[in-house]
């Protein structure tokens, strides 16, 4: 299970890196999305991995923390997801603006001169 998740994170990250290093702004935004998935999962597992634990809704009465997964990383992931969404949106709009003003969708705002 751990191995599966680790490999998954790795693959997502690799795809993200590859795309982020591409010259086209749309590829970059795709890469950013993939990377944010990977990073979210990574934060999530920083509280270690628990399967077959009940979700983090607790009944009244004394609580045995060992029965539950670590809630803090989940809260962090939530915040991270939101911020990631916001920045993605912003980047998308900047991408459009740059495409509109410079006429190209190259990340540098100008086509790379071919030599």
């Amino acid at each position: 299970m751990e191995l599966v998740l680790a490999i998954a994170i790795g693959i997502l990250f690799a795809a993200g890196i590859w795309l982020v290093l591409r010259p086209r702004s749309f590829q970059v935004i795709m890469g950013l999305m993939l990377m944010s998935y990977a990073v979210n999962l990574f934060i999530f597992i920083s509280g270690r991995l628990w399967v077959d634990k009940p979700a983090l809704t607790i009944e009244p009465g004394p609580i045995d923390p060992t029965l539950y997964a670590d809630p803090l990383p989940q809260a962090l992931v939530l915040t991270a997801i939101v911020i990631g969404f916001a920045t993605t949106a912003l980047y998308l709009v900047v991408l459009l603006a740059s495409r509109g003003l410079t006429g190209t969708d190259h990340v540098d705002g100008k086509e790379r001169e071919v030599y």
Binding site: T87, T102, V107
Partner: protein, 538 residues
């Protein structure tokens, strides 16, 4: 819990509130917006000064004000921490912010909607990053800061700005991913996010956890180094500064400084205490990175043909010097470093604002003249033995340029010189009889060389702009703009005159940072307000 403890949250809340209120105000009522904005900054400044007084009078025990947001004790809740270091930075930030607002008033703030709100949000982010005591909260405030800076960078959109901000945004997004990974690693290793708790627990880490922690710390370091434009990671800086509107560039300079601040804070708090091999390694890395940055910056200064690049390279230079000082890993140097940070920041921001005035007088094209024109110019041009009469605004411009140049290049007598003198003197003082180490010598040499290069570059530029092409040029100078620049330079002068007290205050900062235990103790022992309904954590 005294009334003044609640003040600690204000540096974050005041800008937020102001920004929100500014959203309500209609764009057409520009004056009102401006006054609201100014009022927000002024209030923050007053609070800051209040902090100085409070700390000075020892109202906060341990001279460290701790605020438990939402009333949860550390390390569980989020704590805000105020000490001299934070207060100094707050002061600097808000002073510069005020200046750049007054500069932006005439032109830039009318260019697009929501300038003022974004401005305040940026301040909120910076202030939050300065005073938060929680790692993830730091990330959040960094994002606030960055998001606002994106917005402001795009302000008055044009080709250059948009493509520059593409670069800036993508780099910072990736850096933010690193930030998150680093936080996750640190949490996985230590199970806490509170800075004080981290500093406490670093001693009792298992080797495994320790390695994870160090990796996380390294990633965070990369993030902050990117922000503070260390050599191989700082190429975004000239591009961005070159594109942004001058008052915005001034604020971006502050953002850079925040990166440096956080590095100092974390390093001094968490690493300075523990003496593992990795720390030494890290400081070596930091030192050399800083040195390379200094070299890069000074070469860039020498090579730069136009004003904007010159400004950005001097910013690079100053953060390079700060990083090197940190890499020397002596807490006593912090005072000198802070002094330098102050004066260089003031000078660079003032210079950045001058840029626009210069460009208003001389077309940027004229600035791109090859330097050979100056070097081998045959004695062409008017030969008569009568000088050119300079209009008043031009006198102001020239004088402020000269002031900036003097401070930035560390020439006597202004604060730049005091700062450099302080650094070298402290280094010599610390070295004692054995004399400074090789690294110290290298650094001193770099310091002087960079100063020389700055002199040459600035002089060349000044001569070209003010003397070579200055025939009857007239400048429309608005009072607010003049005021902004004047006040910044005035601060430099005051720092020079009051060098003694200022410097000793900065040294207190150094002492605070070097004694991290006090910070840890204050934060972790801070009790929450007991509530009738519930007990314990609350």
């Amino acid at each position: 819990m005294f009334w003044f403890d609640h003040l600690i949250a204000l540096p974050i809340l005041l800008p937020l509130l102001t920004g929100v209120l500014l959203i309500f105000v209609d764009e057409r009522r520009h004056e009102l917006k401006l006054w609201l904005n100014a009022a927000g900054i002024l209030a923050t400044l007053l609070v800051t000064i209040g902090f100085i007084r409070l700390i000075g009078n020892g109202h906060f025990n341990g001279d460290t004000g701790v605020y438990l947001a939402a009333n949860w004790i550390a390390p569980f809740g989020i704590t805000l921490v105020i000490d001299r270091f934070a207060v100094m930075m707050l002061l600097l930030i808000n002073l510069v912010a005020g200046a750049s607002l007054s500069f932006a008033y005439t032109r830039w703030s009318r260019l697009e909607v929501h300038f003022h709100s974004l401005f305040q949000f940026l301040l909120m982010g910076i202030n939050g990053a300065l005073i938060t005591g929680d790692l993830f909260n730091l990330f959040v405030f960094f994002e606030v800061m960055l998001a606002a800076s994106y917005g402001l960078l795009l302000h008055g959109k044009n080709k250059a700005r948009v493509s520059a901000s593409m670069q800036y945004i993508v780099l910072n997004l990736v850096a933010s991913f690193f930030f998150l990974i680093g936080i996750a690693l640190i949490y996985a290793a230590t199970g806490t996010l509170n800075l004080a708790d981290l500093a406490r627990s670093i001693g009792e880490l298992q080797p495994t956890q320790r390695t994870m922690f160090e990796t996380g710390a390294a990633l965070l370091a990369i993030v902050f180094l990117t922000k503070s434009a260390i050599w191989p990671l700082g190429f975004w800086l000239p591009v961005t500064y070159g594109a942004a509107a001058p008052p915005i560039t001034a604020m971006l300079v502050l953002v850079t400084k925040v990166g440096v601040y956080v590095l100092y804070r974390l390093w001094m708090l968490v690493f300075a205490s523990d003496a593992s091999s990795s720390t030494g390694f890290g400081s070596q890395l930091l030192f050399w990175g800083g040195m390379i940055t200094v070299g890069y910056g000074s070469l860039g200064l020498l090579a730069s043909q136009d004003v904007r690049r010159l400004a950005s390279y001097s910013a690079v230079l100053s953060s390079g010097i700060m990083l090197t000082l940190l890499g020397l890993n002596q807490a006593e140097l912090t005072g000198a470093a802070m002094f330098y940070l102050f004066s260089s920041t003031l000078a660079v921001t003032a210079f950045v604002m001058l840029i626009e005035l210069m460009e208003r007088v001389y077309s940027p094209a004229a600035q791109m003249l090859a330097i050979t024109m100056e070097a081998f110019a045959s004695d062409i041009g008017a030969k008569g033995n009568t000088g050119v009469i300079i209009p008043g605004a031009m006198v102001f411009l020239g004088l402020s340029f000269a002031f900036c140049a003097v401070v930035m290049s560390g020439m006597p007598p202004l604060s730049g010189f005091i700062a450099k003198f302080g650094i070298v003197a402290t280094l010599l003082m610390l070295s004692g009889d054995i004399g400074p180490s090789l690294n110290d010598w290298l650094f001193i040499a770099a310091l002087f060389t960079s100063g020389l290069f700055a002199i040459i570059a600035l002089m060349r530029l000044g001569v070209r702009i003010f003397w070579a092409t200055g025939h009857g040029a007239t400048l429309k100078l608005h009072l607010t703009e003049a005021l902004a620049i004047f006040s910044l330079l005035l601060l430099c002068v005051m720092m020079t005159i009051a060098a003694g007290p200022v410097r000793s205050y900065m040294d207190r900062i150094g002492d605070d940072l070097s004694s991290g235990d006090n910070y840890i103790e204050q934060v972790l022992n801070r009790g929450a307000v007991a509530s009738p309904s519930s007990s314990g954590g609350k």
